[in-house]
């Protein structure tokens, strides 16, 4: 095991990921969602799979993946989630009840 490489990749990714889009999304989703566990597991699984694909497929990834369309789809997904958060006034009471139960 190359500890230097391990440490280097850890520090690089940690610094570049801190305060990045995915962490902001994790903050926003966990603050407004019913289940912290589901948000944490979903975020982790998505990030691990994305970096796994990046590491294993290497340079060939960008050739067959329409990155622009994928990013537009992700943007659409975030917009839909934001609108759902702004619109659901009646389920907001459910959320608080659930949170009180958890505490």
């Amino acid at each position: 095991m190359d500890w230097h490489l391990l440490g280097l990749s850890f520090v690089t990714v940690f610094i570049s990921e801190l305060g990045d889009k995915s962490q902001m999304a994790a903050i926003a989703l966990s603050g407004s969602s019913k289940s912290l566990r589901a948000v944490f597991l979903g975020t982790c699984a998505a990030l691990l799979l994305a970096s796994f694909l990046g590491v294993m497929l290497g340079g060939s990834l960008s050739q067959f993946l329409p990155v622009r369309w994928v990013k537009m789809a992700a943007a659409a997904g975030f917009v839909v989630m934001a609108i759902r958060l702004l619109l659901n006034g009646e389920t907001g009471e459910d959320d608080t009840a659930e949170k009180i139960e958890q505490v």
Binding site: L5, S9, F10, A26, L29, G42, S51, F78, M81
Partner: protein, 149 residues
Amino acid sequence: MLTVESTSDASNTTTSSLSLFVETPDVSSNPDDLNGLRFTEGASEETSLQSFWQRWQAEIKVFASTFLTIFLAELGDKTQLTTLLMSAESQSPWTVFAGAGAALILTSLLGVLVGSWLAKRVSAKTLEKAAAVMLLVIAALLIWDVITS
């Protein structure tokens, strides 16, 4: 809870088994004890199973929507490009994946902790609005990436 027990023990000093028998339904009907709901009689068992199923469905929904959006947003992002370049340079992809994976788990854990910390201090309505604005900002950043690339 403790005070109730001590008073019942004091009144029923002769039959300790009876006082124990009386106390057990008190424990299961206590609203603080959520696990106690599972051990109650048939009718409420069905409803607790139903609520468990509903909660499970809600969790799966949250998991799926979180996974899909973050996965799509992260594909082709700068972190992925960094790990991609590092693994190509070093020829040891598993080591790079281990380091990057640990960092990603830690950053998402920090994110979730910050979110839950905020949820305890800010009212749910304010938090929902702030979260919606944050998600819109992320969407705008993604669209900006597409335009500039």
